[in-house]
Amino acid sequence: MTVADDPGADVVDVGFRPGKLLLEIPARVEFVSLVRVVVAAVAELQPNLDKDRIEDLKVAVSEATTNAIEAHGLSGSIDRIHVRCFVADDEVSVVVHDRGFGFDPDAISELPPPESPERLAHEAGLGVRLMTKLADESEIRSSPQGTDVRLVVYTSTRSAQVRKRPS
């Protein structure tokens, strides 16, 4: 069955319980902005999460979702991408799950220095860097059956506690 044959290809499924949301989207790029909007709306349920952190989370989730859609494109999967959001007392976390062929996160090469002419050869490859830098926690678990990307941002209270903690 192809995407064109699937009568539900344009349907987004949403499951919601207090503090939890599951979004299932067709693996198509036009749904990425919807994921960003929904994740931001869920994150706003956590009153102690700064607006800037919600914006950080939006970028990180955009990266994970775009990668997941690309993974389904490469594998030919017509399964939906699953995006789960969890609002906890001191954090908001998002898990993006795809059923692509997976990849080796450790095989992502370091970018050349910004001043190097070779840097301009790297139009792609910034996504993982952004996820790592923008989220307080980021974890990629990948296998030939698919990939889970978990992204976490902390509330201001927890961020302050982390900063106080001796390293």
Partner: protein
């Protein structure tokens, strides 16, 4: 994403203004607009991103590609960024050390 290709000039720079989200959906439109300008012989192109309220690595990739193609065409590209969010993403990826960036479109023309 909405691209204004006739956003005027600032000094001897042609201005291309982008409005909306520079992501996997919006960024390709900007790439095409830049390529059209370079093919038309423009040698100084200012990308005004003041109206861009979201950018991710796909958008950054298009900006890097635009700079690469401009250099191949012996042309120049600069960015105008007023949104703090956009600047934050650019800085995280160290691209503030790759691009010439202005915080005011009028400042671009002043360099002519």
């Amino acid at each position: 994403m909405h691209i204004l290709t006739d956003a005027g000039r600032s000094g001897d720079w042609s201005v291309l203004a982008a409005v909306g989200e520079l992501d996997v959906v919006g960024a390709p439109e900007l790439r095409q607009a830049v390529l059209r300008m370079l093919h038309a012989g423009e040698r100084r192109v200012a990308l005004d991103l003041s109206g861009v309220d979201f950018i991710d690595s796909f958008g950054l990739g298009v900006l890097i590609g635009a700079l690469k193609r401009a250099r191949l065409a012996d042309a120049e590209i600069c960015l105008v960024i007023t949104q703090r969010r956009v600047m934050r993403v650019i800085e995280i990826c160290d691209l503030d050390r790759v691009f010439t960036i202005y915080s005011d479109l009028n400042a671009v023309g002043a360099t002519s």
